[in-house]
């Protein structure tokens, strides 16, 4: 039986980008407003899951040929690397630093090493969620 999922597919095409943008916003807003790597990552994973539901596994794997296990590993490296990086500056493991800089276009921006750590969390959350869903979904 062929299911008719035209509406779902059309809506997904539009809404996917909105969710993705929102998830990135959530990620960057994390230090000041609700959000952060964990929620942002979950939201991105949610968008990808929507894609999986609207289209099938194979199509999605063709559009986004990402190995999520490697993504998880990269995320872990980011987080551990941020922690270990502080050792180079003679401070304990996982000490964060922040500073305010003036960037073109963006104006005064506050930069944190915590964001680097959070990128790791973000990637791990996406990687883990998608690995689990993909392996279970693909299983025949």
């Amino acid at each position: 039986m062929r299911t008719n999922d035209l509406i779902l597919q059309t809506v997904t095409k539009v809404i996917l980008f909105i969710i993705l943008l929102f998830s990135i916003h959530l990620f960057f807003a994390g230090h000041y407003y609700p959000g952060g790597g964990f929620i942002g990552g979950l939201m991105t994973a949610g968008a990808l899951v929507l894609l999986l539901l609207a289209f099938d596994m194979k199509t999605v794997a063709n559009i986004l040929p990402v190995n999520y296990r490697i993504m998880t590993a990269i995320g872990l490296l980011f987080s551990i690397g941020t922690g270990a990086g502080s050792l180079l500056f003679n401070v304990p493991f996982l000490t964060h630093a922040f500073t305010d800089v003036y960037l073109p276009l963006l104006g005064k921006t506050s930069l944190h090493t915590a964001v680097l750590f959070d990128i790791g969390v973000y990637l791990v959350v996406i990687g883990v969620t998608m690995t689990i869903i993909q392996t279970i979904g693909e299983d025949e």
């Binding site: 959000g35 949610g46 899951v49 296990r69 995320g75 872990l76 915590a114 959070d118 990687g127 279970i136």
Partner: protein
């Protein structure tokens, strides 16, 4: 982070980029990129000699986890420096040798050098850390890199077996050592070795002394392959020969010796220490040399010989501890054992290193290490033969090589035991010199066997896979360097005594020195007609006689039945552990998730209910409860209604959606209570898990009304009600009791000031409690890999289980 720290971790840093070299620049052997590092490090460490030879130390520290007293403290003293020089020096030679030993087209050089560098860095960490926890981390890293190197040719079954065996035994010892470290922390409140040494009086009187001491010795004995843990070392010989030369004779196996030497200032005054270290050492010495004689594989001979030589050094360290019970160093004759231990440590690295390289050459050029197939190679490989003579004669303790000097001192140390009048040494002490002498005879026999069975006798070209010829020049450089050192140290031993031996002794026996003092070490060739000299002459004469009659009495080795060997015990033990745990698991794991849930929940109810009851913790206090609003009421009703509906749902789809509804309503609760982060998280999690359910949907069996029995239903009902009741009780009690001041005020005060963030939840996640988050994402990643492995790899499961 100082230069010293950088030097310690530099091999690890290089290990990260070496794969790039090995992949992109294929025409040059990767070893050439590795070689400069140990050479540079060797010269760097040499520059510290002037400091340590005047009893100075270099101490650099930076804080790692200061709240737990764990700092990466690096300390260079005589003992640490001696080992650092051995590691970098022998390391350079081994890397050079490996360039010619491993062919660049056939082997995976990238992984080889990554493992080797990992090991080198870990070893520097072990010998130069002053913090026990840091040292323990590096210690386990040496076990892991050794595991990887032994299993380097992983397609061979024996390699995998040897790798697993070494891993199991050394990591077991490592864990025991961790226990010892924690016990020491309990006694002294410090992880710093230098600080613990200053409190050694307190340690010696503490009731935990013996357990801590035994834990440490377990670590040392497993690492240094002492009887009965020595069985892993012969199997480790499956590693490529440069690895055997480096890890399994010159450095890693000496980590146990290092540990004993390093902890001597803490424990050595205890008689238990003297007896255990000395006793195990001397038994290992005897057993190793006795077993070496019957081996037919060249590397096995060297493996057992390494076991026995490690035992020798260990026994000397044990006996040397007796010196602590006699005051003053001027007339303290008992320090000679410690001198001999340090001296023999250096000598063993030189002659055994060169012998391993010689055996590697023979293996490389003939294709076999079986002594029964070899013979008559003298004329074909004259340089290798010369090197073998130097190494083996030094090992046998013949003049003018360095082995003779340390062997003589070893005898001196053992004979001196007879003059000691403590710990009933005067009665049982006689065993030490006797066993030492017998072991030396066996050492002599296998040394001769090693050289003469390989290089003299009948040349048998038909049994060899290759046509033998002399090794290429590059392969000979390293053993020639070591061989020359054997002779140089033999003829001029005193270049070592002031620069290396005396500072190292000062680290082992610090309490014998008054400030500014140092051990005056002089090594002589000729002592006059002492008992030691006659012992050596006896060894040579009896050794030659027994070597010539070896074929006649060799059969004696088969008297011990195969079943009783330690290897069999290990194999049987491993097997029964596996079958035993399999049976145990089968007993309670029946494959139904609902059974496991029953276990988990039942335990949950019991343990929490018991605690609530026992601690009298159940309190309901409505004083701080605010009134219930309209929204909360609606949401609660929604949750209750949807939960109850699940029970009566006919189709699975309905129950999934209802469960989702419960989750979303909880999210709404968070919105009402103004917790946007939680609400968002709950929303997305709920969405993803509903989607996951839908994905799995096809795999699940049809939901059918099962005609289940009443007791079954009753248990389930009881458990679900129990869980609900307990959770409610805990929530109410937690809200009603205030045992201590809430820490939330700290976060309110500091979130903006210290972390410059306004979202407290996120700042806690990434900054204040960053460690938790780090481990959480590690757990997540492991879980994902676990699910991946379970589903993707389950086809292969049927074969093994």
């Amino acid at each position: 982070m100082s230069l010293l720290h950088l030097a310690i971790v530099s091999p690890l840093l290089l290990a990260v980029i070496i794969p790039i070299f090995s992949k992109s620049i294929r025409q040059i052997h990767t070893g050439w990129f590795v070689l400069p590092l140990p050479v540079v490090l060797f010269s760097y460490f040499l520059s510290f000699i002037s400091t340590t030879s005047h009893q100075g130390t270099v101490y650099e520290s930076f804080e790692w986890i200061p709240s737990l007293g764990i700092n990466f403290a690096a300390k260079i003293d005589g003992l640490g420096l001696l080992f650092a020089l051995l590691i970098s020096g022998i390391g350079s030679l081994v890397v050079l040798y490996s360039i010619y030993y491993l062919e660049k087209d056939k082997e995976q050089l990238g992984s080889f050098y990554v493992y080797l560098l990992m090991f080198m860095g870990a070893m520097f960490g072990v010998v130069l850390s002053d913090n026990l926890i840091v040292m323990y981390g590096f210690w386990e890293l040496t076990s892991i890199s050794s595991f990887l190197l032994i299993g380097y040719w992983y397609h061979r079954e024996k390699s995998r077996y040897g790798a697993q065996k070494s891993m199991l035994i050394t990591v077991f010892g490592g864990l025991a050592m961790l226990g010892g470290i924690i016990l020491l922390y309990i006694m002294t409140g410090s992880f710093s070795i230098s600080e613990i040494i200053t409190q050694s009086d307190r340690v010696l009187e503490h009731t935990l002394l013996i357990p801590a001491l035994i834990c440490f010795l377990l670590g040392a004995f497993t690492k240094s392959a002492q009887f009965p843990f020595h069985i892993w070392l012969p199997d480790a010989m499956e590693a490529p020969t440069p690895v055997s030369a480096y890890l399994h004779s010159a450095t890693m196996v000496k980590a146990g010796i290092y540990l004993v030497a390093r902890m001597s200032p803490v424990f050595a005054e205890s008689p238990v220490w003297l007896w255990l270290v000395g006793g195990f050492g001397i038994v290992t010495l005897f057993w190793g040399s006795f077993s070496a004689v019957k081996q037919t594989d060249l590397k096995s001979i060297l493996a057992f010989s390494t076991v026995s030589q490690l035992g020798l050094i260990m026994s000397l360290l044990g006996v040397g501890a007796a010196a602590l019970h006699y005051d003053g160093i001027d007339d303290n004759v008992f320090t000679v054992a410690t001198t001999a231990a340090v001296f023999h440590l250096i000598n063993h690295a030189t002659f055994k290193g060169s012998l391993f390289m010689v055996v590697g050459i023979v293996d490389h050029e003939t294709g076999t290490r079986d002594i029964r197939k070899l013979g008559g190679l003298m004329h074909l490989m004259p340089i290798t033969f010369t090197l073998a003579i130097i190494g083996a004669f030094s090992m046998a303790g013949l003049p003018p090589f360095n082995g003779f000097l340390s062997k003589e001192m070893f005898f001196t140390g053992m004979v001196k035991i007879l003059q000691m009048d403590l710990f009933s040494l005067s009665t049982w002490g006689l065993l030490f010199p006797v066993l030492a002498w017998i072991a030396s005879v066996f050492t002599f026999i296998y040394s001769m066997k090693l050289v003469f069975r390989t290089f003299t006798g009948k040349y048998k070209p038909e049994g060899l896979k290759k046509k033998p010829h002399e090794a290429p020049l590059g392969m000979l450089i390293s053993p020639v360097v070591l061989g020359s050192l054997v002779i140089i140290f033999g003829l001029f031993p005193n270049i070592l005594s002031h620069n290396l031996i005396s500072p190292a002794m000062a680290s082992i026996l610090p309490s014998l020195l008054s400030p500014g003092d140092m051990f005056d070490v002089h090594i002589y060739f000729w002592h006059g007609p002492t008992p030691e000299l006659f012992m050596t002459i006896g060894v040579v004469i009896l050794g030659i006689l027994l070597y010539l009659t070896l074929p006649k009495w060799e059969r004696a080795y088969h008297l011990l039945p195969e079943k009783l060997t330690l290897n069999k015990v290990y194999d049987k033990g491993l097997e029964s552990i596996q079958t035993g745990s399999f049976k145990l698991t089968r007993f309670y794991m029946n494959g139904y998730i609902r059974t496991y849930l029953v276990y988990i929940f039942a335990f949950f109810i019991l343990i929490l209910g018991y605690t609530l009851y026992k601690k009298d913790a159940f309190v309901i206090d409505t004083a701080h409860v605010s009134s219930i609003g309209f929204y909360e009421l609606v949401l609660s009703v929604l949750i209750v209604v949807s939960t109850i509906t699940i029970l009566f749902a006919k189709s699975r789809l309905t129950s999934i959606i209802l469960l989702g509804a419960v989750g979303y309503t909880v999210a709404l609760f968070f919105v009402v209570f103004r917790a946007p982060d939680l609400a968002l998280t709950q929303l997305v999690i709920e969405t993803v898990s509903v989607a996951l359910f839908l994905l799995c949907f096809y795999h699940l069996p049809k939901l059918k009304k099962e005609e289940s029995k009443i007791p079954f239903k009753l248990t389930n009902a009881l458990i679900s009600i129990g869980v609900g009741a307990i959770v409610t009780a805990i929530a109410l009690s937690a809200n009603s009791t205030k045992l201590f001041e809430s820490i939330s005020q700290f976060y309110v005060d500091n979130t903006y000031i210290r972390a410059a963030g306004k979202n407290m939840v996120n700042v806690i996640l990434v900054d204040f409690r960053g460690f938790d988050t780090l481990f959480e994402i590690c757990v997540l990643a492991i879980a994902a890999l676990g699910i991946f492995a379970m589903i993707k790899l389950r086809l292969t499961r049927g074969k093994e289980g």
